[in-house]
Symmetry: C2
Subunit: 102 residues, 2 copies
C-alpha cells in the first residue's frame, strides 16, 4: 500500500537523547505498535492505515511519541489504553484526540 489515508509513526527508539529521562522504547512503545496493528486489523482499516516504527524524534521526555500524517498530528505520553481512542476518534472519526496533543 503506497499513499495510505493515514500513516501512523510510532517512535521505538532506544536512543537516550541528551539529558532527558527515559526514551520511547523503555516506555513501552513497541507494544504500542502491536496494539495499533491489532486495532487497525479489528476495524478493517488495513487498506487505508499504515503503521511504521521510527527512530528518535528528539522529544523523548514526551514519549512515547506517535505522529500521524498527512495532518502532522503529534501525540505524546501515549499509553496502550490510548491506542483504541486514537484509532476510533482520529483514524475512524477524523477527530484529533486533544488531550494527547503535544
Amino acid at each position: 500500500m503506497v499513499n495510505p489515508k493515514y500513516h501512523v509513526f510510532v517512535c521505538t527508539s532506544c536512543r537516550i537523547n541528551g539529558t532527558q529521562k527515559g526514551f520511547c522504547h523503555s516506555k513501552g512503545s513497541v507494544d504500542l505498535v502491536q496494539r495499533f496493528m491489532e486495532e487497525i486489523d479489528d476495524k478493517d482499516l488495513s487498506g487505508e492505515v499504515m503503521v511504521t516504527n521510527t527512530g528518535c524524534f528528539g522529544i523523548c521526555d514526551k514519549g512515547p511519541v506517535v505522529v500521524i500524517y498527512p495532518e502532522g498530528t503529534w501525540y505524546g505520553n501515549v499509553t496502550e489504553d490510548d491506542v483504541e481512542t486514537i484509532v476510533e476518534s482520529h483514524l475512524v472519526g477524523g477527530e484529533k484526540v486533544k488531550e494527547l496533543l503535544i
Copy 2:
C-alpha cells in the same frame, strides 16, 4: 521542532521482507540519512525539515525507500547522489522528483 514543513522518513530497516531480495539497510540507507542531514544543514533548512529513520515499509524491492510528508510522496531506489536533487527540487523548490517516484 514539532510540525515541520517537510518530514523526511528514510527506511533503515534490516528486516528481510518475505521473499524480496535485499533491504533498505543493506542498500546504504543509513548513509542516506546522513546525507539528508548534511544537505539540510548546508541549505539552512533545519528549522523546517525533519529527518527520521524508520522501520520497514514493506516494499523492500524498491528500497532504499524515502517518504516525505505531509504530501505523502514515495521515492524508491534512492541513492546518495539523489539526496541533493530531492532536497533542492522537492524541499526547496516544492517540485517532486518524478523519476524517483514509486
